[in-house]
Symmetry: none
Subunit: 98 residues, 4 copies
DNA sequence: GGCTTGGAATAGCTTC
DNA sequence: GAAGCTATTCCAAGCC
């Protein structure tokens, strides 16, 4: 393991200097990413509140999640999935379950 | 079973109808949630760019993902660490001794 | 799109039909999976009994669940721990130095 | 924290003796539960293989999961219905008819 | 019986 | 484009 933070002898190309530079850039990248992650968590938290609110008004959170998910998904794919399920159920003779 | 937005008092209307008010609130909730979801997608997109950038500078994206994940877990772990001791005592059936 | 068990080549038959062979294999797969699922349920049932028993002896089931979960994670962590060091080096862009 | 494993002065009722006993029983319970958990993991692993296999034959794993889930729920309902019937028959003193 | 936690499944991104 | 890994989502079991 090479000692990080040990500034070796004022040479511009020594491995340690490279590491120190890399370390600085790494810190910067990590900071940016963690900031973004925090923002994402805030948004998820907000969404959670909205779900709590609508639940408080008597709506079904689960149903609304599903609804939003469906709106986001491609309609064609939804239909295809349903078709396959019916196909298999039919093969098993339990179409009534679908 | 009581249904929100169900306006069938003494009317012969279909049960599958929601009143105007509930419909409006539902639209509002869905709009808010979809806005939040869009923002989340933007952030994920930004993070993606950052990963592309750091990769371009020779860093390993996978490793940095792991790093950030570990840092996040560590922060979370400190918070729950205080409960573990009690938990162990409780597991031994001698919580009263702690 | 190629569909397994879809025997409609040049026939006017419904697309929602599976051929005999595919149907047989499907039945077989489902049977195997349902057998496995039954076995899993038996095991979960046994575990439930153990938890009831230990609760009867004054232990805290919730704590013990947590304990077992932590032990499982620990074991997993030990296995991956050896990769983390390389990962950190990699994150710094200096894997070659390790 | 009380020192576990320290057998204090040969008294049968000291807390440490109680703890040692509790510790032994705890170990036993944990061992039983972890064995069961291992078995469960084996079964899940087997199921995973089956899903991989059927996928290899062109079936849609997701659809089959759904199908099995539906069949399971259905069976549960059938069993429940039968139970209720027996319950009523029993109440009417005509269990022999069921 | 709902609510909350934990585990399993799915989907998306990454790499080969 | 297929396969593995990670992250999110979903669901069910457990507890109050």
């Amino acid at each position: 393991m090479s000692e990080i933070g040990h500034n070796s002898e004022a040479f511009g190309e020594s491995p340690d200097v490279i590491n120190q530079d890399a370390q600085g850039r790494l810190r910067s990248f990590v900071a940016r990413l963690e900031t973004l992650d925090d923002q994402k968590d805030d948004i998820l938290s907000d969404a959670k509140e909205v779900y709590a609110e609508l639940k408080g008004e008597g709506f079904d959170p689960k149903a609304i999640r599903k609804l939003i998910s469906l709106r986001k998904k491609d309609r064609a794919k939804v239909i295809e999935a349903k078709t396959i399920l019916e196909l298999y159920a039919s093969a098993l003779g339990c179409l009534d379950l679908v």
